[in-house]
Symmetry: C2
Subunit: 307 residues, 2 copies
C-alpha cells in the first residue's frame, strides 16, 4: 500500500490503483500518524514499563529513554506497575491495545506478564535486568562487580564489620558481591537489614542495624534511595557519618550528590543503557542476548574519603 | 463511517455500503487502536509537556497524571522541553503529529509554542500555571498564599532578616509574597539570591547569601530542590540548621522529608491537580477558567520547630 500511495508510479496495476484511490477517497485518508499505522504497521511509539516513574532512578532512566527516543522520531508511553501484585494493572492492559512498535520493561514483572507481552509479538527488551532471560534481549548493570568494588573500597578504609542493606535475598547479586568480598578478606559476613529500595526502606533498615547486637562500622546499601534513608536513621541517632559509620550506596543518582554527607556510590551508565535498549528495539539482533554494563565508583564523603 | 462499520443496518444506502466494504477490504481494515483513531477521531492518548521529567517535582506530577489517566483508559506521552530555548524541541514537534486527544502543559513554554498547540485545535490545559491565560483553562498552586504562610511561620519564629531564593524575578508570586510579608511586619526586604529551581541552583544561591554583606537568619526557598541545595551550602560552611539558619521551602516533595534536617515546606496538592487537569480535558467546560489550589505548610525541623 505504501508504494501505491506514496509514489504512484506504474508498478501497480491500474485497476488496483483505481480501487485504492477510491478506497482512500471513501475512507477519508489523511496522512497522519494513525493512518500511517494502518499503512505500514508502525506507530513510532514504544511502551516503557517501570515500577514507579516517580522513583528518582526510574525518573532518570525515563528521561534518558525519552531523549534518545525523540532524537529517533519515537514517542514513549510510560506505564507504572507498582502496586499491582502480578504486574497486570490497568496501565499495562491499556498498553497492550496500543500497537506500540516495542516494549522496554524496567520492572521486575512476573513471568506471566512477560509471557503475555511476548505472546503479543511485540519486540521487547528488558532493562535493569540482572540475569539472562530465555527468548528476550536484556541489559543490566553489573551489580556483582559494583558490589565488589564498593566492598573493596570500604575494606581499604579498614572496616571489618560491614552491614548489607538490600531487598531481594541471598540470590541478589549485590548481596553475593558483599558476602564474597568479606569472605575473600577472611572476614565473617556482617549483619543484613532488609528494606524496600526506597528512602523509607533504608530508614527502617538503618534503625534496625543500630538496634542490633552486631553494630557495624560501615554499611553497603543497595540503592541511593536506601542510602538516603540510612543517613536519616544515623542522623537521628546522632551517629556521625563517616566518622562513626561509613556508607557506600548504588545507582549514582543526582540526589546522592546532595545528601549530607554526599554519598559515595556506584554509578550506573543510565544514558548508555537507554540508548542501547532503544537500538535493540529499532534494529533487533539475537533475541536472547544479555549485556552487562560496568558501574563506576564515585568517591564522595560518606565512605570516609575527603575528610 | 462508524455507523456503517459497526452496525451494518439499512440506514446507509446500499451503494455507499458496498463502496465502504470494498474500501475496508482493500485497505485491510483491522479493529485496532489506530483504526479506531481514524474512525472516531480519538487516540485515547494525552500529551504531557514538562520541562524535565527527571526533576522530582515533575516526576511526581507525571506519576499522578499517569495513575489518573490509566484509571480513565487513557495513556500519556510525556515530552521534555528543557534545553530548547523556544519550547520547540524534537519532542514537541513529534507530539504535534500524533493526534493526541489533549495536551497538558506543565512547562512554561513560550507564547508562540502555546499558540501553535492551540492552533492545532487540540484541547489544552495548563498546569503549574501561575496566572490566567486568555483562551486556555489553567490551574496552579497558590504561590502567593503559600509564600505568605511560609513567611508568617518564619516571622513567628522571630526572624527579622529573611532571604529569598528564587528564579523568576519581581513578578514571581513567591517573591511578592515574601516581600509583602516583610513589609506587613514592618521589616525591610532581605537579600535575594537567584538560581535555577534545582539542587545546584539552590547550592549556588546559598553560597551567594553566605558571602554577602547582609547575612540572613532565615531563608525562604522557592522549591524543595533549591532548599536541598541551600542545605548543602550551609553544611559545607558549618552553618547549623535551624540554629544558625532556618529554611522553609516550597513543593512538599518526598525528598524534602529525607533531607537533613528535614525541610519545612509548602505542599502542593499534586494528585488533586493531576485529576482535575485530566477531567478538564475529558469534560471541557469554560475555556479561560483559572483555578488556584491552596498549599499546606508541613512543619518539620528546618524552620526551628521540633528541636
Amino acid at each position: 500500500m505504501s508504494y501505491t500511495i506514496n509514489s504512484g508510479t506504474g508498478a501497480v496495476a491500474a485497476s488496483t490503483r483505481e480501487r485504492v484511490e477510491e478506497a482512500i477517497r471513501v475512507l477519508g485518508y489523511r496522512p497522519n500518524a494513525a493512518a500511517r499505522t494502518l499503512k505500514i504497521g508502525s506507530t513510532k511509539m514504544f511502551g516503557v514499563v517501570v515500577p514507579d516513574s516517580s522513583n528518582p532512578f526510574f525518573a532518570q532512566l525515563g528521561r534518558a529513554l525519552e531523549d534518545a527516543a525523540a532524537e529517533r522520531g519515537y514517542a514513549l508511553i510510560v506505564v507504572n506497575v507498582e502496586g499491582s501484585p502480578d504486574g497486570f494493572g490497568p496501565s499495562i492492559r491499556n498498553l497492550a491495545s496500543r500497537q506500540v512498535d516495542g516494549i522496554i520493561s524496567a520492572a521486575g514483572i512476573s513471568l506471566s506478564a512477560l509471557a503475555a507481552l511476548s505472546e503479543s509479538g511485540t519486540p521487547t527488551v528488558l532493562v535493569n535486568q540482572f540475569e539472562a532471560v530465555e527468548g528476550l534481549p536484556a541489559i543490566g548493570p553489573d551489580l556483582y562487580g559494583g558490589a565488589r568494588a564498593a566492598m573493596e573500597h570500604l575494606l581499604w578504609h579498614g572496616h571489618q564489620t560491614i552491614a548489607f542493606v538490600g531487598q531481594a535475598g541471598p540470590n541478589d547479586l549485590r548481596e553475593r558481591g558483599w558476602r564474597d568480598a568479606l569472605a575473600a578478606a577472611g572476614l565473617p559476613a556482617g549483619p543484613i537489614a532488609a528494606g524496600a529500595y526506597t528512602r523509607e526502606g533504608g530508614y527502617h533498615a538503618g534503625q534496625e542495624l543500630l538496634a542490633g547486637d552486631d553494630i557495624p562500622t560501615a554499611i553497603f546499601a543497595s540503592s541511593d534511595q536506601q542510602g538516603v534513608g540510612v543517613l536519616r536513621a544515623l542522623h537521628e541517632a546522632n551517629v556521625s557519618v563517616p566518622d562513626q559509620m561509613a556508607i557506600v550506596s548504588f545507582d549514582g543518582s543526582p540526589e546522592s550528590e546532595y545528601s549530607w554527607p554526599a554519598l559515595t556510590t556506584l554509578e550506573q551508565p543510565v544514558r548508555t543503557m537507554a540508548v542501547d535498549a532503544l537500538e535493540k528495539l529499532i534494529s533487533p539482533t539475537e533475541s536472547s542476548s544479555y549485556t552487562l554494563y560496568p558501574t563506576r565508583l564515585i568517591v564522595r564523603q560518606s565512605c570516609g574519603c575527603g575528610r
